[in-house]
Symmetry: C2
């Protein structure tokens, strides 16, 4: 077959042009548009034009946090793998994921809770500003909301995009109602790829803005 | 919020029951059903009930290959992160991803091709039976088809589920027409998460069948 576009930057540019064209009359504030379009780019699923919910100034606040060195916590190693860690490191940030640590599994088993719950408790002890990017586990999101409400945890942003059929829809509504800065994919859809895409959208806007 | 289901195995069982219920009259041969349902479980997107295409005996052939120690090659580290490597190792398999290796980047730059193309050429030199799981790069799929057609590469299975708007649809049709054993998500949709989910569906069916 004839490959029309070979250069990765050119492929991405053409992809975003197609997405913009197919969104038609749907317009968004610029900062939000870049997140929505990157998620559609990652999933080829235009449902995200409707289901992504942003708290006030979520994008600009998160970009400021990253510029000031905020770290990212993910609920899966897959989301961690998808985040552009080199770009994040330029601002001083790192990505943490505690889910596969042996002592997290041991503690979860002993307490009969999910590893995601224990992971979030570990993350809450990090002594740096944190953006949480949750693409898989609704129990992670539910635990986060509890840590915010009961223990005064103050995340810079919660990206709440777990996917699935059990506890998922409700866990996202909890975050939306919590008052914490958030970007949430309402409904069942989401995923580790979506969580990583949202973090990368923030990173790339910041790089663009800062002229890196 | 009240968490109705806490146990991960119970959550998965309930999720699959909901998916089966919502598929309604749509039925599939059992081996195929388990792949389709796991992809829907991973994406919450029922479009996959329509767009997944299987060559004859693709699932049982791939399961045999894994039981005989086949390795998996992915196009992204994200897909690699999502595959259950512990379970694969029980059968002697490993997951390879060449995309982030420094000499792959150097060669791609020098030849002015994508890193995915160089990665596939590296993978073609592996001296073991291989299942390719491509969730991101259409150029990887296009290069694979060329290696099959021109160089006699004989993959045990090609999982062709790149996502996106440029070269993607066409690259998948190439694989479907190639005669190679395949599982392909026709159209624009797919992703690293989908590629990993299909590999895991094969692994879990095999574990179930072998009584591990």
């Amino acid at each position: 077959m004839e490959i029309e576009y070979r250069n990765p930057a050119e492929i991405e540019k053409r992809s975003f042009a197609i997405i913009t064209e197919e969104l038609g009359n749907r317009t968004f504030p610029e900062e939000i548009a870049l997140v929505v379009k990157r998620v559609i780019h990652t999933t080829a699923d235009f449902d995200y034009a409707d289901n992504l919910v942003f708290s006030n100034d979520a994008v600009s606040r998160a970009m400021n946090a990253i510029r000031n060195g905020a770290h990212i916590v993910t609920d899966t190693n897959m989301a961690k793998a998808g985040i552009n860690k080199k770009t994040l490191a330029k601002f001083g940030g790192e990505v943490h994921c505690f889910i596969a640590e042996p002592d997290v599994a041991a503690e979860a088993k002993q307490r009969n809770v999910t590893r995601s719950i224990v992971s979030m408790e570990r993350a809450a002890k990090l002594d740096v500003p944190v953006i949480f990017a949750i693409g898989n586990a609704p129990t992670a999101l539910i635990q986060l909301e509890k840590l915010i409400r009961e223990d005064g945890l103050k995340p810079e942003l919660v990206i709440g995009v777990p996917v699935g059929f059990v506890n998922v829809v409700e866990s996202k509504e909890l975050i939306i109602r919590s008052g914490v800065p958030h970007i949430v994919a309402r409904g069942r859809k989401g995923g580790s790829n979506v969580a990583a895409a949202i973090v990368n959208a923030l990173l790339y806007q910041l790089v663009h803005r800062e002229g890196f």
